[in-house]
């Protein structure tokens, strides 16, 4: 479904068409599909936020939450920051409420629940405070469970950070970073990333001294660089 829509969406994002509010409902549906089918399209989601920015009366908190949660699944990329930049601290707009009464709404987008909770999730994930992150996620299941594959996507990010940081890691610590997973699940992730159980409690990640070594920058002056100068001195 998501794949089938992708082409239609690409057309909707071309040139000035990107700012056409008539496309909003299709784009919103596309967001829902991404949540359900574990698909992802940053550019389309940014276009939705852009349309909210231009048409504040169309702002949907629900869709925005899904976009932000989807952005969390794409760490270590900075999609979450990009989304955040398109939100507004404070917007005021008129909305026709029930009974056709026009009421003025002052919305503090960033401070309102549950957007502020997702902002907090983003913040601790950026700080790699994974333990804290998992505790939080457990406390808000209705929000995160809507995004299919949410937890595993975050685990991929955890593995990315572990993979660049450790040569060997304590097995218990790794399980904890991955959200307190059980032994067989841990085995699955270890295998997936080509890591090895070195001993009972230690997992070997990779030989890092090949990637991370002291660099020496020395000056290289070749003849061509100074030939002109030397010639001029003659």
């Amino acid at each position: 479904m998501a794949e089938a829509m992708r082409q239609t969406i690409v057309e909707m994002l071309k040139g000035i068409e990107r700012y056409n509010p008539d496309n909003l409902s299709t784009l919103e549906k596309y967001v829902e599909i991404q949540s359900r089918e574990n698909a992802y399209d940053l550019e389309a989601n940014l276009a939705v936020l852009k349309l909210y920015q231009l048409n504040p009366q169309r702002f949907s908190q629900d869709i925005t939450c899904q976009i932000l949660l989807k952005a969390l699944t794409n760490f270590p990329h900075t999609d979450f920051v990009l989304c955040k930049c398109l939100l507004t601290e404070k917007i005021i707009y008129r909305k026709e409420a029930k009974g056709r009464q026009i009421c003025k709404i002052l919305q503090l987008q960033m401070q309102e629940e549950p957007i502020n909770q997702i902002m907090y999730l983003g913040d601790i994930l950026e700080q790699c405070d994974f333990q804290h992150f998992w505790d939080r996620v457990l406390s808000m299941p209705e929000l995160c469970n809507r995004i299919v594959g949410f937890q595993d996507s975050v685990r991929k990010f955890v593995c990315h950070v572990v993979g660049i940081t450790f040569q060997t890691i304590d097995k218990g610590l790794l399980a904890q970073l991955l959200g307190g997973i059980d032994d067989s699940t841990l085995k699955h992730w270890v295998k997936k990333y080509g890591w090895k159980e070195e001993s009972k409690n230690v997992i070997f990640i990779a030989n890092q001294d090949e990637n991370i070594k002291t660099k020496n920058i020395t000056e290289k002056i070749d003849f061509e660089n100074v030939a002109g100068l030397m010639a001029a001195c003659l």
Binding site: G15, I16, Y19, L42, E43, L46, K50, Q53, L54, N55, P56, P76, H77, T78, V81, L82, K84, C85, L86, T88, E89, K90, I92, Y93, R94, K104, M110, D123, E126, Q127, C128, D129, F130, V161, V162, I164, T165, F166, Q167, T168, I169, L173, V202, Q208, D209, N211, I212, K213, T214, K215, N216, I217, T218, E219, I221, N225, V226, L229, A232, C233
Partner: protein
């Protein structure tokens, strides 16, 4: 594509009397004599444009017009259209171009800035100009110097920015003014600006042209009848940069970078001969990269343009409105470079390091390294673009000033990032001293500097340190552009000078050691002596 834009433009008809407070002044101006010198200039200027004597037009635009402005119209406007029309035989195209300069002069030089009527007037004049260019069936017979075309697009976006700020400031406006503004919300609306810029991009087929150019082909082969015409081609190119700026002002950094696909940012190209455009491009691209946490890309972008400015700075020393702009943007880029280097220390060109030293950025950088958040914020606020909210406040919004909201928000996003990284400089400063360091020892260092009374539990502190170290690695591994047509592409790299990994309980550190560079030093001395020698030879006693 520009049908919408014409619709909006139709509202010109219902645009009634706007600001009446200034009409008196206007009447007085209306009877002002046009000085003889100015009259002659206008006639000559018009002839040169009509005959397409491009070099002469360039001189008149770049030198004569500013000179006459200074001489006759310092702090006042050029003569109104009605006084000029008969001098130039009511030439409609010339009058539109004249008015573009006329309004630009008002924006730049009249104390207190333009009136509401003038803001509207300038907008409609841009509509006339772009309609003339865009709705023609064949390319219009007009050629203007690239410098002018660049300034035209840049000014168009600038005036939109001014209007949006003016619009968001409700505090000192009368109810009539607010009503008038609400009745004309389509004037200077962001959609209108986007529409114009996109239309110019489409009409010129500049995107295809750049793509072919980047792959070594002949851009004319895909340019179409309009895009082959220099006016359209360059307006299309400058509109891409206009879009870059517009997207940045609205906090859309992804689109900002994306719109420049196929533009070769780090090479000289057939499109890169207007310095102000190059500088502006680098400023916004670098800024967007910084916000996307692509520090290595931001540093590369700022470095290359700042080196270019260093080499050519004598070009920008004369005092003009454009040069003031360039010099301000240069200062802003030094600030941004300083911020990026604090967050992501890395080697930069010796010349720039020297410049940072001379301009006293080291104190600012030192404060930021020591976690002075106020310094970060001050540098950011000085150096960031003037962010805008894309929509005007709604008709019944309380009378407040909304102009700061957007800047506040972007600053908040940036400061959140800084706060997330607040422990990294401390950790870096310790790691720099060792090649291997046990986790527990580093944890002890970090605690004893903040809590010398020893009231801490080592295991807990080692666990906390573990989180900081993961954060360090995460924040220092970023996408870096290496090749490809889009500035968004890239690979994850650790570009910062210090790196490490953890093996069991030990941190292994890899630092970058830079050997002293003597070459530059000697070359500079040699050149200096050469110069001295030449001078000595010239002295005749």
């Amino acid at each position: 594509m520009y049908d919408d834009y014409n619709d909006q433009y139709d509202s010109y008809a219902d645009y009634g009397p706007v600001a009446d407070t200034h009409t008196d002044e206007y009447d007085r101006d209306a009877y002002r004599q046009v000085p003889e010198l100015v009259r002659k200039f206008l006639i000559y200027f018009r002839n040169c444009i009509n005959e397409g004597v491009i070099f002469e037009v360039q001189t008149l635009y770049e030198n004569s017009f500013p000179k006459l402005s200074e001489q006759f119209f310092d702090k006042q406007s050029w003569p109104d259209e009605t006084d000029v029309a008969h001098i130039v035989d009511n030439d409609p195209v010339f009058l539109v171009l004249y008015k573009e300069l006329y309004y630009r002069h008002i924006y730049a030089r009249i104390p207190g800035g333009p009136t509401l009527e003038q803001r509207f007037g300038s907008f409609f004049n841009y509509c006339d100009l772009f309609n003339y260019i865009l709705s023609a069936e064949t390319p219009v017979p007009l050629e203007l110097p690239d410098q002018w075309l660049w300034e035209l697009i840049d000014e168009f976006v600038y005036q939109f920015q001014c209007f949006a700020q003016y619009r968001a400031r409700l505090l000192k406006k009368t109810p009539e003014e607010i009503e008038n503004l609400n009745a004309h919300n389509n004037i200077w609306s962001v959609l209108c600006i986007l529409n114009v810029l996109h239309s110019l991009v489409d009409k010129s087929k500049i995107k295809s042209q750049l793509e072919v150019y980047a792959s070594g082909g002949d851009p004319d082969s895909v340019a179409g009848s309009f895009g082959r015409h220099s006016l359209y081609k360059m307006l299309g190119y400058f509109s891409l940069v206009g879009l870059l700026r517009l997207h940045s002002l609205l906090g859309d950094y992804y689109q900002a970078i994306k719109v420049l696909e196929n533009v070769e940012l780090y090479k000289k190209s057939a499109y890169s001969h207007v310095p102000a455009c190059q500088i502006s491009t680098a400023y916004y691209v670098g800024f967007a990269y910084m916000m996307m946490r692509r520090y290595a890309d931001a540093i590369r972008t700022f470095s290359s343009i700042l080196l270019y400015i260093q080499r050519t700075k004598q070009l920008f020393t004369s005092r003009s409105y454009q040069n003031d702009q360039i010099n301000k943007q240069t200062e802003q880029m030094y600030h941004l470079l300083a911020i990026c280097l604090v967050l992501h220390p890395q080697c930069i060109d010796e010349v720039l390091q020297q410049a940072l030293r001379e301009k006293n950025y080291h104190e600012k950088m030192y404060k930021m390294q020591y976690g002075d958040l106020a310094e970060f914020e001050a540098c950011f606020l000085y150096a960031c673009p003037k962010f805008l909210s894309p929509c005007p406040p709604p008709p019944d919004a309380p009378n407040e000033d909304y102009v700061k909201e957007a800047i506040k928000h972007q600053t908040q996003v940036f400061m959140d990032e800084v706060a997330q990284q607040k422990m990294l400089p401390t950790i870096r400063s310790y790691l720099k001293l060792y090649t291997t360091l046990p986790l527990s020892k580093l944890a002890t260092f970090m605690c004893s500097s903040t809590r010398p009374d020893g009231s801490w539990d080592l295991d807990k502190e080692v666990a906390t340190l573990g989180i900081y170290l993961l954060c360090f690695k995460h924040k220092m591994k970023n996408i870096v552009w290496t090749k490809g047509s889009s500035g968004l592409d890239g690979k994850f790299q650790s570009g910062s000078e210090l790196d490490f990994y953890i093996d069991h309980d030990m941190i292994h550190i890899a630092d970058t050691k830079v050997a002293h560079r003597y070459g530059d030093f000697f070359i500079r001395k040699i050149l200096k002596f050469e110069e001295l020698n030449r001078k000595l030879h010239k002295i005749k006693i």
